[in-house]
């Protein structure tokens, strides 16, 4: 679709509508802990279910006794656990965290932006602009760098530097960063869902470190 791509320049527009302020670090630490947290939850849930199935078939895997939360402090040995990281439950969970947040954020943003005069927003491009500009700014303190569309229901949001992921290094980068990208995809889905659009959202980490979110409206 490259020839038909139309580029939309994302304008700068910073609204400071909310009142209470905190240190941005608080949010950064929280977002960062989402990964390990999801892994710990998944591990716990798996243990619950595996302990019940084990009783039924009478055989146990020795590794199951190893408590995932007894890790060395810092908590990221969890990321080395491949089967845990690729477990669908985490990804679902992070997607869901994002979804919940996206749903509420958009409602808030619209509310604060329009003084309640008109909340109708039928153009999906408007929603995309809000995601690229306002939603991203609220969560990641930066805007999406580039928004493209073929005007037929496909949008590509390009983030040149995802704070959590761009600091990563090494061969595991792709595997692990998926956790955090699921969160971002969830946010986009949440916003769209609340705006009455259903869409498939996929994130792709490019070799130059940029993240491409491809959104296909159903």
């Amino acid at each position: 679709m490259s020839n038909q791509l139309h580029q939309t320049v994302v304008e700068t527009d910073v609204d400071n509508d909310f009142e209470k302020q905190i240190n941005v670090s608080c949010l950064e630490y929280l977002l960062m802990e989402l990964g390990p947290l999801a892994l710990r939850i998944t591990d716990k849930l798996e243990k619950y279910s595996s302990s019940s199935t084990r009783e039924s078939n009478g055989s146990g895997n020795g590794n199951d006794n190893k408590q995932v939360d007894d890790f060395h402090y810092g908590g990221v040995e969890l990321f080395q656990n491949e089967s845990l990281v690729s477990n669908e439950i985490n990804n679902q969970m992070l997607d869901n965290f994002g979804f919940q947040i996206g749903k509420i954020l958009i409602e808030q943003l619209i509310f604060l932006k329009n003084d309640g005069i008109s909340t109708k927003m039928d153009e999906i491009l408007d929603i995309m602009k809000i995601i690229a500009r306002d939603v991203w700014k609220m969560i990641y303190q930066k805007q999406i760098d580039n928004l493209r569309t073929n005007h037929r229901g496909t949008f590509v949001l390009i983030d040149n530097s995802h704070r959590l992921i761009s600091s990563m290094y090494g061969p595991d980068k792709h595997r692990i960063s998926g956790l955090y990208l699921n969160f971002s995809c969830g946010v986009i889905k949440g916003v769209l869902n609340q705006s009455a659009f259903k869409a498939n959202v996929e994130a792709d980490l490019k070799s130059d470190g940029s993240v491409h979110y491809t959104i296909v409206v159903i």
């Binding site: 909310f18 302020q21 670090s25 929280l30 802990e33 716990k44 954020l105 303190q141």
Partner: protein
């Protein structure tokens, strides 16, 4: 340092050295974490998970705290209490809890949180267990425990009451178990 100069130091840090954001996304993110945990686990387990998450944050956040404040080791646990409330809470959450209820031996005190950005808009689920068992803001306990451990203070940190549960005040208790003198990095004194 006197409590007054802690205040002016923290005001200065908050004004000049902290990137500020509106608290909503933070509050929302934390809320969806707690809500998710409550769906999957008992409230006791939720408390544990929140504390654990906070602990991991604390281990890291402590470096930012020292890098940005330039503070050295506290001279006493009393001093520590002032630093936590007037500088720590202030520079991260922009609140200054009151330090009070010192125990006779000077090893325990309480922090009273008049304002708590984590709980804005939150109402606990109607079932009675939540109001009796869930410590919604338990992440804060973990953060403090993690930070203090990194400066060789072995502490217990826990909530005593929470306005979310219908209590009149929100009170955190800090109890110093041991100052791990042997683990203090060499060269400090």
């Amino acid at each position: 340092m006197s409590s007054k100069s802690y205040k002016s130091l923290s005001d200065d840090i908050w004004k000049n050295r902290v990137d500020k954001i509106n608290s909503e996304v933070f509050t929302l993110t934390y809320g969806s974490i707690v809500a998710q945990l409550c769906r999957d686990f008992t409230y006791a387990e939720v408390n544990t998970q929140l504390e654990k998450m906070g602990y991991n944050i604390g281990l890291r956040l402590v470096e930012e705290f020292f890098a940005k404040t330039g503070l050295g080791r506290c001279t006493s646990f009393k001093d520590t209490s002032e630093v936590i409330s007037k500088i720590g809470f202030k520079m991260f959450l922009n609140i200054t809890p009151t330090v009070t209820n010192w125990s006779g031996d000077g090893k325990q005190f309480s922090l009273i949180l008049d304002d708590n950005p984590l709980t804005d808009f939150v109402e606990l689920p109607e079932d009675n267990n939540a109001a009796n068992e869930l410590w919604y803001s338990n992440v804060l306990c973990g953060v403090l425990r993690g930070c203090l451990e990194m400066v060789q203070l072995d502490c217990d940190v826990y909530f005593v009451s929470d306005v979310l549960r219908g209590d009149p005040i929100t009170e955190m208790r800090l109890k110093l178990n041991k100052f791990l003198k042997d683990e203090v990095p060499a060269g400090e004194e």
